[in-house]
Amino acid sequence: MNREKISSQEIIDLVATKASVSKRAAEEFLKVMIASIEEALLAGEVVKIKNFGTFKLLWNEPRKSVNVQSHEEITLAGYYKVGFVPDAVLRVQVNEPFAHLEPVELDVKTNANDRGEKNEDAALDPLRIFTEQATEIRSLISEIQALSSTPKTTIAEEKKKDEDIAEINQFEKFPQIDLEFQDESETTDLIAEQQEAQTQQVNTHDISEEEIEYVLGLPQNTNNDNSQISSELPVTPYLSNIITPRKNRTWMWLLIIIFSMTALGAGFYYTYPPATEFTKMTLAKCEYSVTKISEEISSSEMIHSISGWFAPSAQKTLSPETVIIPKDANDFDSINQNQPVDSLQVLFDNPRVYSDFIASERIKNGSRLTIMSKRYYGSKEYWVYIYEANKDQIQNPDDIPVGTLIRIPKLDLRLIDQANPRCIKKARELHDIYIR
C-alpha cells in the first residue's frame, strides 16, 4: 500500500488551482476553516461538513494503571479526543474497491445444498410429470378398454401433449399389448379398436394422422353410449381450430400496438419542438411588455427582443439578459421575483462598507442602539448595521460608554425593507452573531 502523506501546503495548492483562486486566499481559507472547526469543538459543539463527515468530542474516561517500574497504582486522567465519523458519501467512495463484497452467512451451507437439490428436482420436473402422465394415460386406456365408457378424457389429454406424443406412444405400447389378452374375452368391437391402435403405433411420427385415427376409432369403440360421445366428439377439431386463430390475432394486436406507438411518438416529436418555441416566444413577449411598462428600453435592446421573436434560437441566449438587466439597475423589486432575491442575497453576503452617514448622535444615559435604529430606519432590528458602522468605537454593544459619538450610516434601502421578511431575518442573524 502506498502511504504518501499530503501536507496542508499541497492541499492548499490543489484547492487554489481547482477553485481558481490565489494560493494566499486558499491558505487563509484553510487556516480559517481549521480555526473555526477547532473553536467550535472547543466550545463543545458538533461540527458537520457536508459530504465529508462529522467532528465530535468524545470523552475518554479516566482509568487506572500500574507503573511498570515501581508497581504503584496510578490513574490516567480522562481526556477529550476528536472523533470523526465520515459522511455516507465519503464512506462509499473510499470503500469502492470492496463495495462488491457482502456479508456471507456461513451456517446456511446445508440450506444451500437443499436448495441445490430442489433445483435438481426442478430440472427433473418435466420428466417426472411426463412419466406420471404416461402412467395416468396407461390406466385410462385400460379403463376405456375395460369399460369403453370415458374415451373423451384420454383424447383431450393426448391433445395437450401433441409434441411428446411419440414418447407417449412408447408407453402406450405396453398396456395395449397387455390388454390383448383380456380382449380375447371381450367383444369384437374392442379388438377392432386395438388393431387400430396398433396401426397407430406404426405411424407414430405422423401426429395428425394418428389423431384422426383416434377420432375415427372412437365411434366404433363406444357404441354403448352414443349420446355422450356424439355431443363431445366435435370438441377436438373445434379446439384445434380455435387455438391457431387466437395466436394469429395476438400477433396482429402486437403489430397494431407497435405501429400506433411509433406513429404517436413520431407525431409527438414533430409537434413538440414548435410548441416549445411558441412558449419561448410568448415568454419573451411577456417580458418585453412588462419591461415596456416599467421602464424605458433602449432601441438596441428592443431590436434584440423583437428579433428574438422571429429567431427563437438566438433569442434563447440574448433576450432574457438584455431585458432583465435594466430592471436590476433600478430598484424594482415587485416585477420579477427571482432577480431581486438574488441581488439581495449578494447584498447580504458581501461585507458592508459604510462611507456615507446621515447623522451622528452622542450616547447619553438611557440611549439604545435599538431606539436609534427604530428612529432612523423604522425598525429596531436594524441596530446591527449601526453597530457595524461604529465597531471601532464600541467594544461591547450591550454596554456603550456614555459620551461615545455614534454615526448613523446611510443604508441601502433594500437592506432595511420593512415589507421583506428576509431583511429582518438577516438582521436577526447578525444579531445572533454579535450578541453571543
Binding site: I6, I34, K50, G78, V82, R91, P103
Partner: protein, 96 residues
C-alpha cells in the same frame, strides 16, 4: 454546528461572501475525498491526520441465533488528532 453555520462563521472571519466560502469548502472536501480515495494520508498541521485504514474480514456470531456471518474487509477513513489539538483539548473541563 452544521455546514451552513460553519460557512457563516468562516465568512465572518474571512470577511468574504458566503458563496465564495461555500465554493472553497466544497472544493476542499472534493480534493480531500479524491486524495483519500487514492489511498493518501492527509495531514493538517495542528489539527490531525486523515488516513484510510483497512478493516480485515472477520467472523461475527449473532448472539441469539448463533448464526455465523463472514463480514468482508472494508476501507474506512480514520482521523487522528494532532498532539497540539490534544493539548488544547486537555484544558476543557469534563462536565456531564
Amino acid at each position: 454546528m452544521n455546514n451552513k453555520e460553519l460557512i457563516a462563521s468562516m465568512a465572518l472571519k474571512m470577511n468574504a461572501p458566503k458563496s465564495l466560502v461555500a465554493v472553497l469548502l466544497e472544493t476542499t472536501v472534493i480534493t480531500c475525498t479524491e486524495l483519500l480515495v487514492d489511498d493518501k494520508t492527509i495531514g493538517f498541521q495542528s489539527f490531525g491526520n486523515f488516513e484510510v485504514r483497512k478493516k480485515e474480514e472477520r467472523l461475527s456470531v449473532h448472539p441469539s441465533t448463533q448464526v455465523r456471518t463472514l463480514i468482508p474487509p472494508k476501507l474506512v477513513v480514520n482521523f487522528k488528532q494532532s498532539n497540539i489539538l490534544k493539548d488544547k483539548l486537555k484544558d476543557i473541563p469534563h462536565h456531564e
